[in-house]
């Protein structure tokens, strides 16, 4: 029996909330958490190489085309790639660090979080209903990222463009987050603030 006979499923099963503002499950995504010294080229080099992009600045995202790096903490990055790839890529990267004597922690976290995409003209208004973070274009321009909370749960907000944001939250609260964002998108859809 081969592993490929099983399909990964996110808790939301690809749910979509349609409207002037849409909220949808981005589906399974490969994610690798890497902790290490972000100032050490011995650490950042292999991470950059695997991601195929430069290291992001503080609270920024870098990369494109499904291979991206998110700045999560002063000693932590989140590497995004197609689902399934981390199963080999994470242990390989860890092994490389171990071999080089670089103190780092690498772990496949593909199943730990879900990605929700919020899309529409008033994307920022929807987020501002739920988060204490300043989500104005000046504070969070496209390409930036902020970990904060939406209502009662932790979330990372990533601004992709003026009309699109991604919300990363833990898997167990995916349903809660989806309902929250769906509600925020439906309430007063033409309310414009930003």
């Amino acid at each position: 029996m081969s592993e490929t006979s099983y399909e990964p499923v996110t808790p939301l099963l690809g749910a979509i909330s349609e409207g002037a503002l849409s909220v949808r499950d981005a589906g399974p995504t490969g994610m690798i958490a890497v902790r290490g010294d972000l100032t050490d080229p011995g650490f950042t080099g292999p991470v950059s190489a695997l991601a195929g992009c430069a290291l992001p600045g503080v609270w920024r995202a870098s990369g494109h085309g499904g291979r991206e790096l998110l700045w999560m903490a002063p000693d932590e990055l989140l590497l995004l790639m197609p689902y399934g790839e981390p199963r080999l890529a994470a242990p390989t990267l860890q092994a490389e660090f171990d071999r080089q004597g670089v103190h780092a922690l690498v772990h496949d976290v593909s199943d730990m979080r879900v990605r929700l995409i919020v899309e529409g003209t008033h994307m920022r208004e929807a987020l501002a209903r739920l988060t204490p973070a300043d989500v104005s274009p000046a504070a969070l321009p496209p390409g930036s990222l902020r970990r904060t909370r939406i209502a009662q749960v932790a979330a990372a907000l990533r601004i992709v463009s003026e009309e699109q944001a991604e919300v990363l939250c833990f898997r167990s609260v995916a349903d809660y987050a989806f309902r929250l964002l769906g509600g925020a998108a439906r309430n007063a859809p033409d309310f414009e603030y930003f």
Binding site: W59, M72, A73, P74, P132, A133, R146, R147, T148, R149
Partner: protein, 107 residues
């Protein structure tokens, strides 16, 4: 509701993004310490009216612990700084002393 700037990631965080951790700069006493030393470490707190040095964690952000010098009466924030420092940096002390001349870090 307070805002504190996390010195580890630079974000200005709202109180609901932070977790409080009590008094800062406690010196740990372990096995071999006297009862008095240990009780002081474990239980006795300043709870000062005025400048206080506190531990906070940017729990809903970068996850890092940091220290804050804050006034428990006026809520003025004199500064935030690394949790690794044994006492507030000079610029924070200067700001505290601008309001409270002669203020010293509590022993």
């Amino acid at each position: 509701m307070l805002t504190l700037t996390c010195p580890c990631c630079g974000l200005e965080a709202a109180e609901i993004e932070l977790a409080p951790g009590g008094e800062a700069h406690l010196v740990r006493f372990g096995p071999g310490s006297s009862d008095a030393e240990f009780e002081d470490y474990l239980f006795n707190r300043q709870a000062a009216k005025g400048p206080v040095l506190e531990r906070w964690r940017h729990a809903y952000g970068c996850g890092k612990w940091f220290l804050a010098a804050r006034d428990s009466v006026t809520m003025e924030v004199y500064g935030t700084y690394s949790a690794r420092l044994p006492q507030p940096p000079e610029e924070v002390l200067t700001r505290i002393r601008a309001r409270h001349p002669g203020w010293q870090v509590p022993a």
